[in-house]
C-alpha cells in the first residue's frame, strides 16, 4: 500500500515538470514519465485487489505511450527539417 501512495506522490513533480519545463522536450519527457508511473500504479492496484487481468492495462499503457511519444517527436523533427 505504501508504494501506491509513493507513486501517486511522484506524479506531482512530473506534472510540475510538464507545466513548467522550459522546452517542449521536457514536456514530452514528463508525459512518458507519467505513463510509466501509471503503469506501476495499475500493477500495484491489480496485485492489491487480486485482479490478475488488470495487468493487460499495463501492457496497453506501455504500447500506447510509446506510439504517442514517437508520433509527437517525429512530427516535431520533420517540422524543423521542412522549414530549413
Amino acid at each position: 500500500m505504501y508504494i501506491l501512495w509513493a507513486m501517486l506522490i511522484f506524479l506531482i513533480p512530473y506534472l510540475v515538470l510538464i507545466v513548467r519545463g522550459p522546452t517542449v522536450w521536457d514536456r514530452i519527457l514528463g508525459m512518458s514519465l507519467v505513463s510509466t508511473k501509471i503503469i506501476i500504479i495499475v500493477i500495484i492496484f491489480s496485485s492489491l485487489n487480486h485482479l490478475d487481468y488488470l495487468t493487460d492495462f499495463a501492457i496497453i499503457y506501455v504500447l500506447l505511450g510509446f506510439i504517442v511519444t514517437f508520433f509527437i517527436t517525429t512530427f516535431l523533427v520533420t517540422r524543423k527539417k521542412r522549414e530549413k
Partner: protein
C-alpha cells in the same frame, strides 16, 4: 520472499527519488534527460521486479515478467527518441534554449 520483495521495491523508490531531485536540480536539458532515464528504466524495472518477487511464482508474476520484457525494450527507446529528436531539431548541447514552440495567437 516478502521481505526481499519489499527491500527491492524500496530500492526502486530511492532510485526514483534521486531522479526527481535531479530533474529539478540541473538546468541543461541533456543532463536532465540523462537523469530522467534512470527513473524511467532503472527505477520502474526495479519496482516491477520487486513486485514479481513479492508475489512468488504464480500466473500474476508470469504476466509481470512479460511486461518487464516489454518495458526493458521500450523505456530506453522512449528516452532515446526524445533526446535524439531534441538534438536534431537544434537544441544546443551547452544548455541554451532554442525553443521551437509557437503560439496560436
Amino acid at each position: 520472499m516478502e521481505i526481499l520483495g519489499n527491500i527491492i521495491i524500496i530500492l526502486g523508490i530511492i532510485f526514483m527519488l534521486f531522479g526527481v531531485i535531479g530533474i529539478f536540480r540541473y538546468q541543461n536539458f541533456f543532463v536532465r534527460i540523462l537523469i530522467a532515464s534512470k527513473i524511467d528504466t532503472v527505477g520502474a524495472l526495479t519496482v516491477v521486479i520487486g513486485l514479481a518477487v513479492k508475489h512468488g511464482f504464480s500466473f500474476f508474476s508470469l504476466r509481470v515478467v512479460l511486461l518487464l520484457v516489454l518495458m526493458f525494450i521500450i523505456n530506453p527507446m522512449v528516452t532515446h527518441i526524445i533526446a535524439r529528436s531534441a538534438y536534431e531539431s537544434g537544441q544546443n548541447i551547452d544548455g541554451s534554449v532554442d525553443d521551437i514552440e509557437e503560439g496560436n495567437e
